[in-house]
Amino acid sequence: MKKLINAPEDAVRDSLAGLALAHMDVLRVFLSPLYVVRLDAPVQGKAGVISGGGSGHEPMHGGYVGKGMLDAACPGQVFTSPTPDQIEAATLAVNGGAGVLHIVKNYSGDIMNFEMAAELCQAKGVEVRSVVVQDDVAVENSLYTAGRRGVGTTVLAEKICGAAAERRYDLPRLEALCRRVCENGRSMGMALAPCTVPAAGRPTFQLGEDEMEMGIGIHGEPGRERVPVMSAREVAERLSEAVLADLPFREGDRVIAMVNGMGGTPLMELYIVYHELARLLKGKGIAIARRLVGNYITSLEMAGCSITLLRADDEMISLWDDPVMTPGLRWGV
């Protein structure tokens, strides 16, 4: 394992220390328990928006803390959900009297830890609403499983809900909006090469020189299917067709599209995939109203990409365009 770290057990903290130093105009990092919080938190009268999860998905979530997006983020160890004490402390720190929205990705660990934290906060009189993102179409949605993983739609939900909170949506309205975003967002990812969790020291799976994994998540876990390497065009087709069929998206829909890199794939390749995606959607009469192309929700140095489509209404698009000032997303300010 070759990584620019000091020691595996220090990686998350060292990295957050760097984040704090690089963006002291935007955020602050508390160490015990560990959370990242907007500099001017709590904003009185504004509902707070919080997310969190295992580390290794940078810039998510710490890089999305700032005006117009998250009030706080709770980073766990690499690929390990944060603990209730972190989430509780962050929630209390951003509560400006209007309650706090928890945006939780659908993993057993995240669900349970956020649940325990929400109970602790509610016991202290802070109103908490939780919305679970479960947008990964690679996973069958069934009553008999843990449901779908939360992946790319999380980024879009954080941006849109962050803007809505800035506009002083109250907590129930914010929760309803977040649910609407989650219901209308779908994603799927693939990998050309695995990643290595620092503390584990070995790649999470092995791939032959001419194989790729379709339907991976963001934790270096194997996907649903191992297939021969395909062209960017075929990859874009396979991913987008699965995504489109699921909602389903229809002719005339407007979407916010994200072509996301898993961390180890050059931007050049992501733009190639975006080119293919844009052609495909045009052919189906689906309009890309807004888009992101880059590394937004990663899996350490995994090579690969994911496609997220969010069927967006005017409200979502208008909120999308609102100013945002975070290390990972910035415009309008």
Binding site: E9, P33, G54, G76, Q77, V78, F79, T80, S81, P82, T83, P84, D85, Y107, S108, G109, M112, N113, E115, M116, D136, A138, V139, E140, Y144, T145, A146, R148, R149, V197, A199, A200, R202, T204, F205, G217, H219, G220, E221, P222, R224
Partner: protein, 213 residues
Amino acid sequence: MAVDRQAVLAWLESLHRVYAENRDFLTELDSAIGDADHGINMDRGFSAVKAAMDADAPPGLGPVFQTVANVLIRTVGGAAGPLYGTFFLRAAAACGEQPELTPAGVVALFQAGVEGVRQRGKAEPGDKTMLDALVPAAAAMRQELNGNGSLEQILQAGAAAAEAGMLSTIPMQARKGRASYLGPRSVGHQDPGATSAWLLVRAAAAAWLGKTE
């Protein structure tokens, strides 16, 4: 024969060693059907438990388990943190004010702990989780107790049932936890949580029967 505070501390101490030794093994299992952190999580948690106990082990059994629960909840994260945390929370409650555990107390402790895990995780045996080791272990212990088995027989039955339960996860398709995302590809792999659960029960048997692991 009863389990006193010293024996409980010895169990915790041995768990620290067991999870350190099995860190890579559990992580390996988790990398096949999960996200390659289970061994790391358990090792981090029980190192912290050891540190807390070395620094200041509270008096009594209940408070010791309560501290274990708090430490695990604050340091493990992932699915295992809340689950094992809840196990020890319920264990603490089950101990109440007792200064030591009779065989019946031991069985009650495990049953309460396992029930906590089941409630927290909303899983059932057959879902390919730690419950597949824990539920049979608690049931086997209860059965030995009902048949007037000795503490030794109870603990050995628990460990054996946990091991069998752990192995039973291999052919299962996961319906809970991260492995469930793999669908049919989860079949053929031993569940990491069931494995750490077996280690937990086996370590209790070893520590409380005076054998070191």
